[in-house]
Amino acid sequence: MGVGAAELFAAGGYHVVMLAREREKAIDAIAEVQGLARAEAISEQIEPGSYDADLQRAVSGAAIVFEALAEDLALKRSFFERIDRYRAPDSIVATVSSGLSIAEMAQGRSPSFRQHFLGIHLFNPPHVIVGTEVIPHAETDPAVVERVVELLNKRLGRRLIEARDRPAFAGNRVAFKTMNEVAQLVPDYGVVFLDYLIGPHTGRAMAPLATIDLVGWDVHEAIVNNVYTRARDEAHVLFKLPGYMKDGIAQGRLGDKTPAHGGFYRRTEKGVEILDTSSGKYHEAAAPKPIDFVEEMKVLHRVGRYRESLAVLKTARAAEADLARRVVLGYVSYALNRVGEVAETNGAIDTIMSYGFNWAPPSVLVDLLGAASIVELLKRYELKVPPIVERAAAENKKLYAGSVLDFGRTFVG
């Protein structure tokens, strides 16, 4: 993430000092930044350095200190202790953590540090994914939040939300619940079937298990374990990492980043293989057996008829449709029940799901299916009805603030 963040700030016109354990590593990282920016000249704005030789000088002269160390609270805290010593009084300190407690990271630091400290959660790769969460903790100065929001919006082109300092913040909390739920279903239904049934036609750029492979099984584990340990809500059990994933991670199976070990998928010279969770072995991928209602939805998305497509999902009688509805409605229920907990408004959750994950915003699903229908469906599947949906149904109101031009891209044909 350090490379992506350096590219983002340099492209926004900032002078960046990029620090790594060794200066050579920072120099290598700058070459990566040039690749992301597709421009050699971006290096004119980036200076390499090492923590040992350059930290004090770089931090004391910085307007913003952006930390992108590993997701390890102790490591981050010891780093911030040093930052606290060197930083200029007005400088902002941000962590890119994807879900650790912001308040705990700031604990023990000076009052000035605590007031100027917050989370800036970028999604990978940040030069492509513009959704971003700003996470203040209780002591963050509101003026600091305002400054950060302004620079991220205006200079760095972010689609921003303010998320609460809760486990996994807003986007990861909602998305990884659904992804882990699908991962839990794998032993019963298999990889190919699930990624087909809960595929892009259900309002996501990428199928859920392929997404877990992309982000990495270890990252997935860290996020769901963090929520499972630190949060209690109606979906608690759905954050429990499946046993086969725990075993796979122990064997080095981390997804796309470990091509030899694979993930749910393994790419070989012969083609793509699929994980069989019962044996831990891979077998040749077979195309999923087409399901009529899924194919019908894809055709409707292709011509931009998203409302009609969701009507097909709502009324499909196939046995598989129940499973698809349960997962999609589970997403709507979980996301909108977090309003007031992980973010102030449904609009914030909509934004981060749309621009952080390329998933259809939950409010859009409510509007397209109709709030009254959603209430009835949620009850049918024994899912918790969010108060905001109940109100929308009672008042016959739309929940989503944008238009089809904002959400159309999240429905893939």
């Binding site: 421009a39 050699e40 030069h127 011509v303 931009g304």
Partner: protein, 409 residues
């Protein structure tokens, strides 16, 4: 002869950074989203639309789909039966659709027209797309068997300036940097999050390869997918619309003037024809002057310009052709910051084709929507201060079809 006024009621644009092929979408989805967005933005009902015109360059090639006018009907059942048509003039297709729609309103045939500009281009690889674009030139003579013919043709436009007046590539690099910088403030611009600097644009490098002649990647507008829909109205309809929208009629922008000229297709013929003319593309100059004359305005009354910068050389040409400098002295406006936000004649506050993106058939309509946004103070972070009148220039081919408009209230 004074023509009845044509009002612009607003519209909507798709995000030009989207790749609709990756979304596995048919071109009709682009048209639907733009049109539904325009209906929502303006608060109009589909049943109110009386006629529709589509600007599109080459859907038959890029998307294997013709008869695009008919696809407007697919947006809503209430549109079934309205007259529709599709217009093509290469990169000026969108402006030609606007001209056709406004002519119908001026003639009193209809009171409310939808104009949709659309192009889906990311369906093919860059070389194939470059070949398709070659059909906007005289294909057999200027494009057949040539890789990326258009950068080469517009490189030659730069060469012609160089020959007649002298041209320094650093000025082209500055034009690129200004457009990218403006695009960063436009939430619908294709390149809004791309890195660009004058230093990068000035040098040929691995990431800034020469595409043709003196044209490097940074000098080029980008291939993209996009659709834009706007509504044009007669005074009768605009009056009703103003009443129900609770705005004064004189606050609703109108097309104050238009110009439309066509030069010979072949680039060499154009250059031969203009050999003794101070303007390299005299028909383009005339299209601009026609628009100014019909609007009854002079350049000094123009608050900003949305021009056709398919390449930096075409914007360089536009600067002197608009009369911002004497012929051949566009570099002065570049050096003095005249064309930048805050300058005397900001060019492409949206980022233009280089920054905002160039889905060919949508571009002319996008320019008019951006002009509408400017004069209604609705351009957000790329608003030109106190914009009253905005001029547009949309070009098809190598300076072949030129369409200019003046928009204001």
């Amino acid at each position: 002869m004074s023509q009845p006024p044509v009002f612009i009621l607003g519209g909507a644009q798709t995000d030009f950074s989207r790749n609709w092929s990756k979304e596995n979408k048919h071109i009709v989805a682009l048209m639907r989203e733009a049109m539904l967005g325009a209906l929502e933005t303006t608060g109009m009902e589909p049943r109110e639309v009386q006629t529709a015109h589509v600007g599109n360059f080459a859907a038959e090639l890029y998307a294997h789909q013709g008869h695009l006018g008919a696809f407007v009907i697919d947006v809503d059942p209430a549109l079934s039966g309205i007259p529709t048509s599709r217009h093509e003039a290469a990169c000026a297709s969108g402006s030609i659709a606007i001209l056709a729609a406004s002519a119908e309103i001026e003639a009193g045939r209809y009171d409310l027209a939808a104009v949709i500009g659309v192009e889906q281009m990311k369906t093919v690889d860059p070389a194939t797309g470059g070949d398709f674009l070659g059909t906007a030139a005289w294909y057999e003579r200027e494009a057949k068997g040539i890789e990326f013919p258009f950068p080469k043709l517009f490189g030659r436009l730069g060469d012609e300036y160089d020959k007649r007046y002298g041209l320094r590539d650093e000025h082209l690099a500055h034009i690129a940097a200004v457009n990218y910088s403006n695009a960063r403030r436009n939430p619908l611009a294709q390149t809004r999050n791309w890195y660009m600097s004058e230093s990068h644009a000035s040098r040929q490098s691995r990431y800034n390869a020469v595409i043709g002649g003196r044209i490097k990647a940074s000098d080029c507008s980008q291939v993209t997918d996009g659709a834009v829909a706007i509504f044009l109205a007669s005074e009768k309809y605009a009056r009703e619309y103003a009443k129900r929208s609770r705005v004064a009629l004189d606050k609703i922008p109108r097309i104050l003037g238009w110009g439309h000229r066509t030069a010979p297709v072949e680039f060499d013929t154009k250059m031969d024809e203009s050999r003794d003319n101070p303007y390299v593309l005299p028909h383009t100059r005339r299209a601009i002057l026609d628009a100014f004359a019909r609007a009854g305005v002079s350049l000094e009354q123009i608050s900003g310009i949305e021009t056709h910068d398919c390449f930096t050389t075409s914007e360089y040409m536009a600067i002197d052709h608009f009369g911002i400098t004497k012929p051949g002295e566009s570099w002065k406006a570049v050096e003095e910051g005249v064309i930048e936000m805050g300058g005397a004649f900001p060019i492409n506050p949206s980022g233009g084709l280089i920054g905002a993106g160039h889905p060919v058939g949508a571009t002319g309509v996008r320019q008019m929507l951006d002009a509408f946004r400017q004069v209604t103070e609705a351009a957000g972070d790329y608003q030109v201060e106190a914009a009253r009148k905005i001029a547009t220039l949309n070009i098809g081919g190598s300076g072949t079809t030129s369409c200019a408009f003046v928009i204001g209230s």
